[in-house]
């Protein structure tokens, strides 16, 4: 079977987001961008499924600006077989909403015919946690979110989900959309030879219009501001002082 893995290019998770002075958004000029960590985990899982003989081909897709091809080269270097870039905007500050992303991915899914779409559970920039669920609805496929274990069987995939109360295991019929959580695996680093090889792997570019999808924005961003900041407090001298502070604030 084929596996489709969408990968988003986001502000690197080690870089602190800075709000632009005019309140129009986060400053993304000249900052380090990387593959969304959750998407890396999804891709790693796809590669492991291929190594186990559960899949023949992995297609990575990225939607956004032209520079997303760097993210796709990383995906190819990790082990994706080919890549599709959908240039949906020319401004990196213009975040494409999960609903539009789901429409684009649905169109690509119909074209490419994967049996499984493995998504990160959320993008660490907009924190929506929505694309996989929306895609699954659009395709009328089964849905398994927040996976910490994935076991592909004949006509279904057994997924252990991280839920608020603990862990839940479900069987999702294939074709399925699965969103992955942090504890599923630890992604590999691309080796130098694989980075070189990735340069020759196919990377196709396609426009939203060619896929018949319109880019819409349902949520207008009116303003972006800094959160209320916390001041550093007191460093206490000893345990007794701390005990006192704890007692003052328990039940307070």
């Amino acid at each position: 079977m084929k596996i489709l893995v969408p990968v988003k290019r986001v502000l690197d998770y080690n870089v602190k987001a800075r709000v632009k002075a005019d309140g129009s958004g986060i400053d993304l000029a000249n900052v380090k961008m990387s593959m969304n960590p959750f998407d890396e985990i999804a891709l790693e899982e796809a590669i492991r499924l291929k190594e186990k003989g559960n899949a023949e081909e992995i297609i990575a897709v990225s939607i956004g600006v032209q520079q997303n091809q760097e993210t796709l080269r990383t995906a190819l270097a990790m082990g994706a077989d080919r890549a599709i870039l959908v240039v949906a905007t020319d401004d990196v500050h213009n975040d494409i909403e999960p609903l539009t992303v789901a429409n684009i991915l649905a169109a690509i899914t119909l074209k490419e015919g994967p049996s499984l779409v493995l998504c990160g559970k959320q993008a660490i920039d907009n924190d929506f946690n929505a694309t996989a669920q929306m895609l699954s609805a659009k395709l009328k496929w089964s849905q398994a979110t927040f996976a910490s274990e994935i076991d592909v069987r004949e006509d279904m995939v057994r997924v252990t989900r991280e839920v608020d109360g603990g862990l839940q295991t479900i069987d999702a019929k294939i074709p399925a959309v699965v969103s992955v959580d942090l504890r599923l695996n630890e992604p590999r680093y691309a080796s130098l030879p694989n980075i070189m090889k990735a340069k020759r792997k196919p990377l196709e570019e396609i426009s939203p219009a060619e896929l018949g999808v319109e880019i819409t924005q349902r949520l207008k961003v009116i303003k972006t501001k800094e959160p209320d900041s916390r001041e550093a407090g007191l460093i206490l001298e000893n345990i007794d002082q701390l005990v006192e502070k704890i007692q003052e604030n328990v039940g307070g």
């Binding site: 987001a17 559970k121 699954s136 979110t145 069987d171 949520l219 959160p227 704890i246 328990v250």
Partner: protein
């Protein structure tokens, strides 16, 4: 404007705190109806009917709802949901699983993790692990809102809503439930506890985590953990606090052996008072802590437990 709240009911048991705080957020716009869908709703619907500002409790019972499977839930309930202009759910694993799927079905964007309802179409929500707060205005015909419940207080139980039962036939078993491995505990729930004691990688092992649990029990607190502590197997996954774990805002948050990465802060920096214990005086956690103690946790925590 017609407002619906999706109650979270797990296998017949109402997640009362989450549901009540979601009602509280929704009620900033007016009176609400609450949808109770589970295998057994008798207790849940009685409790929801008492929540202030609830007008009608709509009850659908079917085995298919017991485990909150997204496809069955959204397919079966879509006709009911379609009667409303605003649909709220808690931003819990239940709400995050179900609400965006409903969005996909209706071709409507979901407004996740709303920390403030400003008006019927305008909302605030944190982005970038809480490093920025965005105000967004929705142009969709229906507003689908998941609520960051730690920003709201529960509503009082002074109401008396109508309870209406609707017959239904559960649809679409695309997924089959196999099993739950839920943590059971006598401690308060992490997301609603007044006091939380959390341990990080510094705690060192699952056995050592008993030090954290001991202090928590002495304070009547819930236990939390950093991702590093969960990944290392010191603590179960449902204890994780942070961008990808739970968001808490207790009166008192005690962080022990936690460095204070932005992803951890995202889940606890709205706590009223933060106390940090760390042997490294440079640890970033001290930049957000109201009170800090630079000390070895293995020495400090048992002594604190004895003295409080």
């Amino acid at each position: 404007m017609k407002i619906l709240v999706l109650a979270e009911i797990n296998n017949g048991e109402l997640a009362e705190d989450q549901t009540s705080k979601t009602v509280s957020a929704a009620a900033t716009l007016g009176k609400v109806d609450v949808l109770c869908a589970s295998n057994n709703c008798s207790n849940a619907s009685t409790n929801v009917a008492k929540m202030e500002n609830v007008e009608n409790v709509i009850v659908l019972e079917d085995e298919i709802f017991a485990q909150g499977l997204a496809e069955s839930y959204s397919e079966t309930l879509i006709d009911t949901i379609n009667l409303y202009s605003h649909v709220f759910a808690p931003s819990s694993s239940f709400g995050k699983n179900v609400l965006p799927r409903i969005g996909g079905m209706l071709d409507v964007m979901v407004i996740s993790d709303v920390s403030k309802v400003i008006s019927e179409d305008t909302f605030e929500r944190p982005v970038y692990a809480g490093n920025a707060i965005q105000t967004v205005q929705s142009v969709d015909k229906v507003k689908l809102i998941s609520v960051r419940t730690s920003n709201y207080s529960a509503v009082p139980s002074t109401g008396s809503a109508n309870i209406k039962k609707i017959d239904c036939i559960g649809k679409n078993p695309l997924t089959t439930f196999i099993e739950n491995r839920m943590q059971t505990s006598d401690r308060p729930e992490l997301t609603s506890a007044k006091v939380v004691v959390s341990g990080g990688r510094g705690v060192g092992s699952k056995e050592n985590f008993e030090i954290i649990e001991g202090l928590a029990d002495k304070l009547g607190a819930a236990v939390g953990a950093s991702r590093a502590a969960v990944d290392s197997g010191f603590a179960p996954n449902d204890w994780q606090v942070g961008q990808t774990g739970k968001v808490v805002a207790p009166d008192l948050y005690v962080a022990v052996g936690i460095s204070g990465a932005i992803q951890h802060l995202a889940g606890m920096k709205d706590s009223k008072v933060i106390v940090a214990i760390n042997k490294d005086e440079e640890a970033p956690i001290f930049q957000v802590a109201d009170f800090g103690l630079v000390d070895d946790l293995f020495k400090a925590v048992p002594e604190i437990e004895k003295k409080v």
